[in-house]
Amino acid sequence: MDTPKKNPFSLQIDVSRFEKATEEEKRQQDVMSESTTFFKDGMRKLMKNPLAVASMIVLILVIGTIIIAPMVVPYGYEEMISVNGKRDKTAKNLGPFEYSKREQAVIDEGGSVFPHIMGTDSQCRDYFIRVVEGTKISLSVGLFASILVLIIGVLYGSISGYLGGKVDLIMMRIVDIIYSLPDMLIIILLSVVLNERLANSNNPVIQSLGTNMVSIFVVFGLLYWVGMARLVRGEILKIKNNEYILAAKAVGAKSSRIIRTHIIPNCISVIIITTALQIPSAIFTESFLSFVGMGVKAPMPSLGSLANSAREGLQSYPLQLVFPAVTIVLIVLAFNLLGDGLRDAFDPKLRR
């Protein structure tokens, strides 16, 4: 039995302690837990997640390398290495930090040659700068494709969700059909067609990107947004029927205000998380297509096309496969883990 610590009789009764407490004193007792905003709380959680933080660091390092490396490394991604203005044909398939005979000669004479951090490829190009450029292209494809998906998906989803009724029904049937199409096959198909159709186009955008790239974007724009559209519509429908929206309407809040203060903040976390997870999936798709030979236009490298061309010399120069492969895995891993971290930190459904 819970024995009282002191016998109340033996207690030196201090009469003042039995005075009525004031309201203010009572309020001080009513300690609430520290109130934080949704964003602050989410950031705190995110920063506590070591994997997410590590992923952010990796991504920052990767992006930093993409920006800095071309300034520091004196080689171009599409040029053969040249020594004293002459093309150096001996600089073929060098290992990391190896020098060609002619470069060695320059060094022996006391000159300096910037090292080939990842060696060179079969066409005497510095492999490091090619991997950096490939990373840049793969990342940009991922990013732009995701932004495309974001814009179309959010617009479509919110229109469908907001209008509701028959419009919603028809719009969602279309989504259902697109959703069930095998995306990779359609991408390949479209690449084939667009390749032929746009091959002779003089459009500068197409010329610089290559038709395959254009078809990747077209397909992302046509097919990949459906997931996002479904999510956004779902969120909006859920929010629309929530009591607090009814309450806001009942007190006479304008639609624009409801959208700004209630719908957007509630959707934004879902949208950000989905976009973060869309980037690696787009990188995956691009590298896959490049690997099949339907990706970026040579001599432009992407991580997938680098891996593909490394296949030929796999027996002798396996590192040429390892470098781009590791880079893809690293980037996709970082985005996946960051996306997971964001979801854990910001998804209201997971919060208690």
């Binding site: 199409l181 390949i188 032929e196 590298s287 893809i328 883990l337």
Partner: protein, 303 residues
């Protein structure tokens, strides 16, 4: 249930139709007829050829003819080899189905076991190891993994033969294809297992005095497997897509290799046929896994 079934089948039919439509018109959008690239033909020969392949008719009619033939199992003949396409497709499909089927089985069985283990040893080392590996494998494109496998086991270690027509080991291609789905099934099983373990009925089972092992394998796992079933369709689609590269890397004459080859050859009827064939398989698999899901979950029957 039956209403859902009808709706779901209708959607599948519409999807297949849309795929045929896209494929057919995409292929027809390629500039130049199929005979332009060949040596110059006399107008008379060309006209005969066009008539023979119904290419003189309006495009809408051509589509209808194509669809009718397709429904009879006739995809026309390959421009490259001149062989009957449906025969080639079936031959290749047999090869792909074998590898893909083994990979799918592997992925589901191993994935469920690993996922259940990860959930059981939550936050202990087996869980961390399994989750580390699955995270790694979900970040690795199948072509990277396949090439790495080839490099390590065939070239460096020489454990398994490569490009050997007589003794084709399926081990590496199956592993390459199954890696991602296995990792995905593992994660899915773990998540739904943890979800199931936090349900009230688990508390009820424990409060009855049921042993921990039985709580997990009788009460949690059965419920946890329901979401895994929904993944079976997308998984098969993934494996089929993955076979495009994996079959090329390991030189296996399946549908994937056929598809890529026909693209390289600009063999349009073949591309068209393979696309439609693959797409139909994927749509049907999705349909089956959706229906299976409804069958397995007893709660659904009410609505």
């Amino acid at each position: 249930m039956s209403k859902y079934l009808v709706k779901r089948i209708l959607l599948a039919v519409v999807s297949v139709f849309v795929i045929c439509l896209i494929t057919f018109f995409a292929m027809n959008a390629v500039p130049g007829g199929p005979f332009n690239s060949e040596k110059a033909l006399t107008p008379a020969v060309k006209a005969t050829l066009l008539e023979r392949f119904n290419l003189d008719k309006p495009i809408g009619q051509q589509f209808l003819i194509y669809m009718r033939n397709m429904l009879h199992g006739d995809f026309g003949i390959s421009l490259k080899t001149g062989r009957d396409i449906s025969g080639t497709l079936l031959e290749c499909f047999a090869v792909s189905a074998k590898i893909g089927g083994i990979a799918a089985l592997f992925a589901v069985i191993i994935g469920v076991i690993l996922g259940a283990l990860a959930a059981l040893f939550r936050n202990k080392w087996p869980d961390r190891l399994i989750i580390f590996l699955t995270t790694l494998f979900t970040a690795m494109p199948s072509f990277v993994f396949a090439t790495l496998l080839l490099m390590v086991f065939c070239i460096q270690l020489k454990w398994l033969p490569v490009w050997d027509a007589s003794n084709r080991s399926l081990v590496l291609p199956v592993i390459a294809l199954a890696a991602y789905p296995t990792a995905y099934v593992t994660r899915l099983t773990k998540t739904s297992m943890l979800d199931a373990l936090s349900q009230d009925y688990i508390r009820t089972a424990r409060s009855k005095g049921v042993s921990t092992v039985k709580v997990i394998f009788k009460h949690a796992l059965r419920n946890a497997l329901i979401p895994v079933i929904t993944y079976v369709g997308p998984m098969l689609a993934y494996i089929l897509t993955g076979s495009l590269v994996v079959e090329n890397i390991f030189s296996i004459g399946g549908l994937g290799k056929q598809f890529v080859q026909s693209i390289t050859n600009r063999d349009y009827p073949m591309i068209m046929a393979t696309t439609i064939f693959l797409a139909v398989i994927m749509v049907v698999m999705n349909l089956l896994s959706d229906i299976l899901y409804k069958v397995v979950d007893p709660r659904i029957k009410l609505d």
